[in-house]
């Protein structure tokens, strides 16, 4: 450390306090323990070949609330997220260990006898870069519904409902037959969220959903995440700590494939128990 530079002062995220009004009133009262988990990781480990990427993770995902996964690049947050819907199964030479239990039915998501398709039909995912299909806006949202066997007569209503929930309906209702690639990046991402929401997933996985979007589009997606609270369990990976502070109820800080600290978002940001968490959320490393 060069002596001329002052030490950064540890301070709470200013945006967390300034934007406190936008947060739901009950957000500050989350207890340390998650009373009603939707998913629990119980000693979950994951390896690509001989490289162990996730090491013995234990944490609950609160039902119908938003859980954020934060941590520096390469810490395994996305790898963890992709365990929930078995995306890793698409690639060779991978291994899960431990349990990742989906409540209330107690299914172990990563058990070999559980078919990945079942988990992907129950758990939706939105990716970092908007990835609509090169089809019409309508067909993008309808694809998942068709996979779920929704009769053709109901498609129109269900597509509208999904687009409403994704706050995109007003912008696209007159051009449902237009190609999805004609939409702006932010609209494409909300379309992808609508596509994931259409089949009413029990859990929605968001993998850095706003990292490719501008601030206005980001704000819209964050509002949308707020509106999902109470109805859908959301797990969001984000590089943006302000975003984690704004949208989530619980936060897990990960580092080198381990969960360093998990707790209510306010406590993680305002009063972390681990030095490493404190350093990360105050911007001293990462």
């Amino acid at each position: 450390m060069s002596g001329a530079l002052p030490e950064p002062v540890a301070r709470p995220m200013p945006s967390l306090l300034e934007r406190g009004a936008a947060r739901p009133p009950d957000a500050l009262t989350h207890p340390d323990e998650v009373a009603d988990p939707k998913v629990t990781a119980e000693g979950l480990s994951f390896s690509f070949g001989s490289h162990r990427v996730l090491k013995n993770l234990h944490m609950p995902i609160a039902r119908n609330l938003v859980t954020a996964l934060i941590g520096p690049s390469g810490c395994g947050k996305t790898t963890f997220l992709r365990c929930f819907n078995r995306m890793h199964d698409l690639y060779p030479d991978i291994r899960y260990e431990g349990r990742l239990v989906l409540h209330p039915d107690g299914r172990n998501i990563i058990a070999p006898e559980v078919h990945p398709v079942e988990m992907r039909m129950r758990i939706g995912m939105v990716f970092q870069k908007p990835n609509p299909y090169p089809k019409s806006i309508f067909d993008n949202v309808a694809f998942g519904l068709r996979l779920h066997g929704v009769p053709a007569g109901e498609l129109k209503d269900r597509v509208e409902e999904a687009l409403q929930r994704a706050a995109l309906w007003k912008e696209v209702k007159d051009r449902l037959r237009d190609p999805a690639y004609g939409l702006s990046g932010g609209q494409q991402q909300r379309l992808c969220i609508a596509r994931a929401l259409a089949t009413d997933p029990e859990v929605l996985l968001l993998d850095e959903p706003t990292s490719a979007l501008d601030p206005v589009a980001t704000a819209k997606v964050e509002e949308l995440i707020h509106s999902l609270r109470g109805r859908t369990t959301v797990v969001i990976v984000t590089h943006n700590m302000q975003q984690a502070a704004r949208v989530s109820d619980y936060t897990a800080f990960m580092y080198l494939g381990e969960i360093i600290e998990f707790g209510p978002t306010e406590r993680i940001f305002l009063n972390p128990r681990q030095q490493m968490t404190n350093d990360y959320v105050t911007g001293r490393f990462g």
């Binding site: 995306m87 990716f127 090169p134 998942g144 690639y181």
Partner: protein, 308 residues
């Protein structure tokens, strides 16, 4: 001043690079004109000799000892039927093999060996395929020197081209699109059927066009299996007046095709037969272009439905 000399230097460098650009584009244009010129000369030569010979009599007559009474009816019907068999075997097989290799098979050593051999197969001289077909289809399976044998032979010949084109087109689809489909709970087949195939159809059609064009012009493997040059009858009609209305007897029929008819006439001493050969060449090119146009139209339709 040093700033000026730096500007000068940069401008000199730019001028040199632009000169290189111009020289290269001139060489490219020249070579392109040479290629096109050769093609035009070939076509013009054929047209001068043969265009006048193409008339209704020529297209609706069987071959004859008398050049003026000879025609190519059996040859163009033969070409169309052989290509029909070829397309019906090579396209579904090639698509299926390409999809399997790209989407289903494990990425292991066996797959790599298969891949290398696939590219090798595409480069095997066509007469070798003729020998294979003579042994397999004519002698072992007893299909005879028939339309079926010829169609299957050309089918095997172009199969590697179709497979490689299918794989390349599938590979060009971004991973993100596959993941988007799988993440919604689509199975492999649903992903292939609703996303990968529709999005890669344009490229696959291009491969099929190239493959079929090559098959139409092939002569050597058909000579090897013993295609006849003098066919004075048409294969039995595929449509019958009495039930079951469809007949596959034509598959067993003897046949000739346009390039073989052409080869036969070129090797005759009489000048009139050479004119017939030129006319046949023109018809062969026309058939190729016609099939290509149809395929390009199909490709255009396939691409219009996919909107990136």
């Amino acid at each position: 001043m040093s700033a000026d000399s730096k500007t000068d230097r940069i401008q000199r460098i730019i001028a040199r690079r632009r000169r290189h650009d111009r020289i290269f584009s001139m060489i490219g244009l020249l070579l392109l004109l040479m290629c096109l010129g050769t093609l035009v000369a070939l076509l013009a030569d054929l047209a001068i000799d043969g265009l006048a010979r193409i008339n209704k009599q020529f297209l609706t007559s069987f071959p004859s000892r008398f050049p003026a009474r000879a025609g190519i009816l059996s040859a163009w019907v033969g070409t169309l039927l052989v290509i029909l068999v070829t397309a019906c075997t090579a396209i579904p097989l090639g698509l299926a093999a390409g999809i399997y290799l790209e989407e289903y098979s494990a990425r292991n050593r066996v797959a790599r060996i298969l891949e290398i051999n696939l590219h090798n197969l595409a480069g095997v001289p066509s007469i070798i395929y003729g020998l294979l077909a003579l042994g397999l289809f004519v002698y072992v399976f007893q299909f005879g020197r028939s339309i079926l044998t010829a169609g299957l032979t050309l089918g095997i010949l172009i199969l590697p081209i179709v497979i490689v084109a299918t794989r390349e087109s599938l590979r060009a689809i971004p991973l993100a699109i596959r993941e988007a489909s799988y993440a919604l709970g689509a199975t492999k087949w649903q992903t292939v059927r609703h996303h990968l195939l529709p999005y890669s159809m344009g490229g696959i059609f291009t491969g099929i066009i190239i493959a079929i064009s090559r098959a139409i012009g092939e002569t050597a493997p058909l000579v090897t299996i013993g295609a006849l040059t003098f066919i004075a009858f048409l294969p039995p009609s595929p449509v019958q007046p009495q039930p079951p209305f469809v007949s596959l007897e034509w598959l067993k029929s003897d046949f000739t095709v346009l390039p073989i008819q052409m080869f036969n006439w070129v090797s005759r001493p009489q000048r009139e037969f050479h004119i017939n050969a030129a006319a046949t060449g023109l018809v062969l090119i026309a058939v190729t272009l016609l099939l290509n146009t149809a395929a390009v139209a199909l490709r255009y339709r396939a691409r219009k439905r996919v909107r990136w």
